[in-house]
């Protein structure tokens, strides 16, 4: 899980071109969208596209978006569950 969290942080930085942010700067449990990173709805859109492309994960509603992007840890949990679902 820690590996996935680190990977996701790097992906977030790369996808959103967060030049002055490092992996260490992103708190695992801090609010991702609308939080201290200053990410907004457009960033959310970009992350949704990234999730679909790189992890095969679709975020199909506002409610899902709120849950999945609650934090990096929540995002990692969601991806893990999605992968388990695929295996099953």
């Amino acid at each position: 899980m820690d590996e996935l969290i680190t990977e996701l942080k790097a992906k977030i930085i790369e996808t959103l071109n967060l030049i002055d942010i490092s992996v260490q700067d992103i708190d695992n449990d801090a609010q991702l969208i609308g939080g201290d990173l200053g990410l907004d709805s457009i960033d959310a859109l970009e992350l949704v596209m990234m999730l679909e492309k790189d992890y095969g994960l679709e975020i199909d509603s506002k409610e899902s978006g709120v849950k999945v992007f609650a934090s990096v840890r929540a995002l990692a949990n969601h991806i893990t569950l999605h992968r388990l679902g695929e295996i099953n």
Partner: protein, 301 residues
């Protein structure tokens, strides 16, 4: 209290005739004009930019006309029951047809020109009969959604138009997610091109009537990320109460890499600003924006 008065007025108008609403609307529009000097100043500034050589009294008169022209929007919303109620013409709906047939989906960029709710309703009632694949999602400011007459909301819902109301302050940054999925499924999402719906929304600078103006970036980013074509759409109320709908050929907002994005979005936004400028020059009393829009004068920069 306001809702009660509005419902009372519309009921009375349906019983006694539209003249009741016309008279009341004239009074209300005049009241807004006389007692909202800040908003009137915004309109006067717009008309000064539109006709810089004319006297300030002319600009004030234009603002007066604009306020009274806006009453038509409300009247048409209330009394619109059936497509036969309105005479209308259209240009460019074949581009939407093509997008529906190819299942590309699309982003429809609307403006506060004319009456978009009627356009959306007619688009589906008349145009949608020919092409049942046309699905439409409207993003509207919450206040605007509340202004839509209940009967028209029901009509829009019956014709399959989905409305998402976005609160001006607050609201969720995830409101946009339903739209991207809608487009991916071949639907059409309508977004406002000439006004932000959230205070913290990102904007892009354009040139408009010789001034700097800031347009919401969302529609262009939406088109870029979804890959869907962008349609610029205007509605105009012509003489005699008829409507004309104009849809421009689709544009694709594409960037080969991230560093190019800002540039392509700026070009797309400027193209829209130029079409909007042309539209307001042709129909100067039908741009019901009423919010500060013009920034600093650019002269010949």
């Amino acid at each position: 209290m306001q809702n009660f008065f509005y419902r009372f007025l519309t009921t009375l108008s349906r019983l006694m005739g539209k003249w009741v609403f016309r008279i009341a609307a004239w009074g209300i529009a005049s009241g807004y004009f006389l007692f909202s000097p800040t908003r009137v100043a915004v309109s006067v500034r717009f008309y000064r930019a539109l006709s810089p050589v004319r006297h300030w009294l002319y600009h004030l008169w234009c603002a007066w006309k604009q306020y009274h022209s806006f009453t038509h929007v409300f009247m048409d919303r209330i009394f619109f029951r059936d497509a036969h109620d309105f005479v209308f013409t259209n240009e460019g709906w074949e581009y939407l047809d093509e997008a529906v047939n190819k299942k590309t989906g699309g982003v429809i960029l609307m403006s506060h020109v004319g009456n978009w709710e009627i356009a959306a309703d007619l688009l589906l009632r008349v145009h949608g009969r020919k092409n049942s694949g046309l699905k439409l999602l409207l993003y509207l400011g919450l206040k605007r959604k509340e202004q839509i007459e209940r009967a028209q909301k029901e009509s829009l819902a019956r014709n399959g138009v989905k409305i998402i109301a976005v609160e001006k302050d607050g609201g969720s940054p995830f409101d946009i997610l339903e739209g991207i999925n809608f487009v991916k499924e071949g639907g059409f999402v309508s977004l406002t091109g000439d006004r932000k719906w959230r205070a913290d929304q990102r904007t892009i600078s354009v040139r408009f009537l010789g001034h700097e103006a800031f347009l919401p970036e969302t529609p262009f980013i939406f088109a870029l990320l979804s890959g869907a074509p962008l349609f610029i759409f205007f509605t105009f109320r012509t003489d005699g109460g008829a409507y004309h709908f104009k849809n421009f050929p689709p544009e694709y907002v594409c960037a080969e890499n991230r560093s190019e994005r800002r540039n392509v979005i700026r070009k797309a936004a400027q193209a829209y600003a130029e079409l909007l400028e042309d539209a307001v020059k042709r129909h100067p009393f039908e741009w019901y924006h009423f919010e500060p829009f013009l920034g600093r004068k650019l002269d010949n920069e």
